[in-house]
């Protein structure tokens, strides 16, 4: 049987979603699939477009996993616009002249930005904000500009304004309506939003009707308004709404709406049964949906229809919650109270700049809509009330009034929600799916995120997901036990606090005051690490020695046969030939197996316990110090060679790496810490895979945080850009101390950050904006650690009594006779079982 041909025009977010839906279906095999994609890139995340200006690359924004189309045998005509549909011949023709006959055709052509026909709109340095190509052009022009104007104060306009602000431009928003976000919010909310945005340094001009754009005097353009005022600016972004791209449908005679949009029925079919339209190009019951979620719903409906399944599009909820320039904004349903006899309750807190309003039905029983500015914590609850048409409490205003007596949030409990209630609208995760994840063993927020993707889109459902999680755990009779171990009924964070506040310096005192029993291999090293982070005493001092894991107790890394490996510090990976020779000589003398590590150091393996002080004596004499490879502490700061030698380098990455390594060496932390510094964006030091990554740009250092390699690799997040040396160090100080104080035992920075409510944004608030008022304390505490640094090996070899504790036996000078090495590739390795038997004869 020959396959039917399915042609899809458009590979935006909705077009791609459609492809994902269709390849999942069994019916996929009935089709040969061909796509026309006008852009030179496959689908990418337009919703996150402004992230492009805070460091995300086009690749980061891509929504198509590598090989998706190839693996699914789908032909994609890239950078080729479908220009003609001949419905009689069922033939699509492209601009490049490709002709494809179709059986079924799906239009996902999206929309285009509306540019008002203001005289002068076609001048240079006037842009729209839709594609990555647009952004590249804006970035290029922005680099040469001082002032930027966004025309349009809607959702996208404010996003665009943030982008201009991020580029360092003096930014204006010009809006025709009397308030910002006129569609979603009311006057009261608009006023609060405006105030907040102006505080961020963006000038807002409402009720401005631009008459023309002419050459400026100080800047490139002068915009003249109808009221006689004007603004000078170098760059103009039009963000005055979208229009459906229906030209190809219109020309082929498909029915379109009076004001544009391809008319579809509940099956997403156009006036031609063989042609479907989905997303922003489609007009359903007179409505164009300019959000991605309804587009996704249409994609699913069209895919199901093609597969012969029942599914219809019956309208979509247009509620939104987002952070606009750091301001929380949410709108639900009938925000303007246009429903007949609707009642309105509102709450305004001028001091905290919070505005909340709910619109309820005449009988006070049902929620119709809501607007929230400044505090959107209630969004999840309110949205569920609306979507599930649930009964409201007796006094609906309690839903938005602050709960200051600690009685908790009123409204509905998550238990009241049906299983099919959609909790995360970005990834369409239902309450049932979250419950299932919990019962499958995903019992932390981090695990739920990973397993269901819930909360990883806009994050609006975070609180709600947390409530579902806790409720489920409660139901399963699982108390969320965060106790460190059976000896301490505290988390690591609480223990840290107890130690610092109580000025506790020994484990005996700690367990006597706050614990029970004798401790164990979990709480003892944790306590040792906390003591070191707080007081930084010599870790082999008498009461501390017994707390250390064997690696910390012998200041080396134990290997499978009980011998140790030694890693001296080579800060930034820079080493003199003399020191290299010294390492070689020590390795040769003690017959050590030597290997280069991933952190630009040399690892010397096979040292016996009793040899460690002897070897270190020689290393210290040669100018080395301990590399802390054995500790949960800073390991290395990897660096590329930087501007000193490299023809591409823009800054001296080696010096910065050495400075950072020397600053933080010896800092004990909940888990190991790895840093890297790259001298340019080619990123040869792989800084984005590190806990702390620093990349040089022409404008200063870009700081990346919370990445890691290992079992679950994670790219670091861009945290701040264009930093000078001083600010860079300040931020890293604060970040590290915050992590050291609050992370769980053996929690890497990435998991720690993922579990912070608010994630990287919250981290930014704490570290950059000092929202907790602790920045100075963090810096002071870090200074204390830095000032009390000692090379633990130097202290050890200088104290004969300490060095003696490395002897293999308390009653003999012999060594362990059962450690046996055999040769391999001109070095040694531990003997395996059979070789051991042969040697020892036992």
């Amino acid at each position: 049987m020959s396959k039917k041909k399915l042609v899809v025009i458009g590979n935006g977010m909705v077009g791609h979603k459609f492809m994902q839906a269709i390849v999942k279906d069994q019916a996929r095999d009935e089709f040969e699939i061909i796509i026309f994609c006008e852009e030179s890139r496959l689908a990418y995340d337009r919703v996150q477009l402004s992230a492009f200006f805070s460091g995300k690359t086009a690749d980061d924004l891509s929504m198509v996993s590598a090989g998706f189309y190839e693996d699914n045998n789908i032909t994609v005509h890239m950078a080729d616009r479908a220009s003609l549909i001949d419905r009689e011949k069922q033939l699509v023709t492209s601009e490049k002249g490709v002709e494809i006959q179709y059986d079924k055709l799906v239009l996902a052509t999206g929309s285009f930005p509306f540019v008002p026909p203001i005289p002068g709109h076609e001048r240079d340095n006037c842009f729209v904000y839709r594609t990555i190509d647009d952004l590249n052009a804006i970035a290029e022009a922005g680099a040469k500009s001082k002032v930027g104007v966004v025309i349009g104060g809607g959702l996208l306009g404010l996003e665009a304004a943030k982008a201009l602000k991020d580029m360092g431009l003096k930014t204006h928003v010009v809006e025709f309506a009397p308030r910002l976000m006129a569609v979603q919010i009311d006057d009261g909310a608009g006023a609060v939003l405006r105030k907040k945005i102006e505080q961020l340094g963006v000038s807002v001009h409402t009720q401005k009707n631009t008459q023309n754009i002419l050459p400026g005097e100080q800047c490139v353009h002068r915009m003249n308004f109808a009221d006689g005022t004007h603004i000078e600016t170098d760059l103009i972004l039009f963000s005055a709404g979208i229009r459906p791209r229906d030209d190809i449908a219109r020309e082929s005679g498909l029915e379109v709406g009076e004001r544009g949009g391809i008319i579809i029925n509940n099956h997403c079919q156009t006036s031609d049964d063989n042609i479907y339209a989905i997303g922003e190009c489609a007009l359903w019951e007179g409505k164009i949906y300019g959000l991605v979620a309804p587009g996704y719903q249409m994609a699913q409906v069209a895919a199901d229809q093609l597969a012969g399944k029942q599914n219809s599009f019956t309208g979509a909820d247009m509620s939104t919650k987002l952070k606009l320039m750091g301001v929380d904004v949410a709108s639900i349903g009938d925000a303007h109270a246009t429903t007949e006899n609707a009642k309105v309750y509102s709450y305004v807190n001028g001091a905290d700049e919070v505005y909340k309003k709910i619109v309820v039905s005449e009988d006070n029983k049902r929620l119709l809509g809501a607007v929230l500015i400044g505090d959107t914590a209630d969004y999840g609850n309110l949205l569920q009330l609306k979507l599930n048409d649930m009964a409201l409490p007796e006094y609906p205003d309690t839903l938005i009034l602050p709960q200051r007596d600690g009685s908790g949030v009123t409204g509905l409990g998550v238990e009241a929600l049906p299983d099919n209630a959609q909790i995360c609208s970005c990834f369409d995760v239902s309450k049932g799916a979250i419950c299932q994840a919990v019962s499958d063993g995903h019992t932390t927020m981090g695990a739920i995120k990973e397993c269901t993707s819930a909360t990883t889109g806009c994050g609006g459902c975070t609180a709600l997901v947390g409530q579902v999680l806790n409720k489920e755990l409660e139901k399963m009779g699982m108390e969320v036990n965060t106790d460190l171990c059976e000896h301490f009924a505290y988390t690591r964070q609480e223990m840290y606090h107890l130690v610092r506040v109580g000025n506790i310096k020994t484990f005996d005192a700690l367990i006597e005051q706050h614990g029970k029993g004798y401790g164990c291999d979990i709480c003892k090293p944790t306590a040792a690490s906390i003591f070191a982070s707080c007081w930084n005493d010599y870790i082999l001092e008498k009461p501390l020695a017994g707390l250390q894991d064997t690696n910390d107790r012998f200041l080396a890394n134990i290997q499978k046969n009980g011998t140790y490996s030694i890693v001296p510090r080579i800060a930034g990976g820079e080493i003199t030939p003399d020191k290299l020779i010294a390492l070689g000589e020590v390795g040769k003398k003690y017959n050590l197996y030597t290997k280069i590590t991933g952190g630009q150091r040399v690892d010397l393996f096979g040292a016996r316990q009793e040899q460690l002080p002897l070897i270190w004596k020689e290393l210290i004499d040669a100018g080395f110090e301990t590399g802390h490879a054995y500790g949960k502490s800073l390991r290395t700061v990897k660096s590329c060679v930087g501007s000193t030698w490299c023809r591409y380098g823009v800054a001296d990455s080696v010096t910065t790496a050495i400075n950072l390594e020397n600053r933080y060496k010896g800092l004990r932390s909940p888990h190991k810490l790895k840093f890297a510094v790259s001298g340019c964006t080619r990123e040869c030091a792989e800084a984005q895979s590190k806990d702390v990554g620093v990349i040089a740009t022409e404008n200063g250092w870009n700081l990346y945080l919370c990445g890691n390699g290992g079992m679950k690799p994670r790219h670091a997040d861009l945290f701040a850009t264009g930093l000078d040396d001083e600010t860079l160090i300040k931020y890293i100080d604060r970040f590290l101390m915050f992590y050291v104080k609050t992370a769980d035992r053996l929690q890497r920075t990435s998991t720690w950050m993922m579990n912070l409510d608010g994630g990287i944004d919250y981290l930014r608030e704490v570290v950059i904006e000092d929202s907790l008022g602790l920045a100075e304390t963090f810096e002071q505490e870090m200074l204390t650690v830095i000032d009390s640094y000692q090379c633990e090996w130097k202290t050890t070899v200088n104290d004969p009594a300490k060095a003696q504790t490395f002897n293999a036996f308390v009653n003999s000078d012999k060594g362990d006779s059962q450690i046996v090495f055999v040769p391999e590739r001109d070095q040694v390795r531990p003997a395996n079982k059979n070789e051991l038997k042969a040697t020892l004869g036992a």
């Binding site: 059976e486 000896h487 484990f507 005996d508 029993g517 004798y518 401790g519 164990c520 291999d521 709480c523 003892k524 090293p525 008498k542 009461p543 020695a545 017994g546 707390l547 250390q548 894991d549 064997t550 690696n551 107790r553 012998f554 134990i558 499978k560 046969n561 009980g562 316990q609 504790t805 293999a808 036996f809 308390v810 009653n811 003999s812 012999k814 362990d816 006779s817 059962q818 079982k833 036992a842």
Partner: protein, 118 residues
Amino acid sequence: MQTAVIDKEIDICALTDLIEDAGTTALINDTQIALFYVKKTGQVFALENYDPFSEANVLSRGIIGSIGADLVVASPIYKQHFKLQTGECVEDTSIAVKAYPVNIQDGRIRLTFLGKGS
């Protein structure tokens, strides 16, 4: 494995040679013994130093502590726990290391090997 054949108490070292709340290793003929000094109770325990899981002589380098009422040492290699009193492995009760009676006399640690070991 070689185990010494000694049926009398032998003197090993002074109590002050041991490390508080940690392990120390002693050698008797060719047998390695891990000695653990629990300061709070004043007790010293002796176990065979050989870790049957990693097949290396490392138990004296583990961290000591308690699980419920039992004092234990955690192997530094793969972290199994052995009871200090009996040598029994907590995670796998079919496995045990040898435990030796310890006598502390006049500040000296004395150890008794009861006949021939395995």
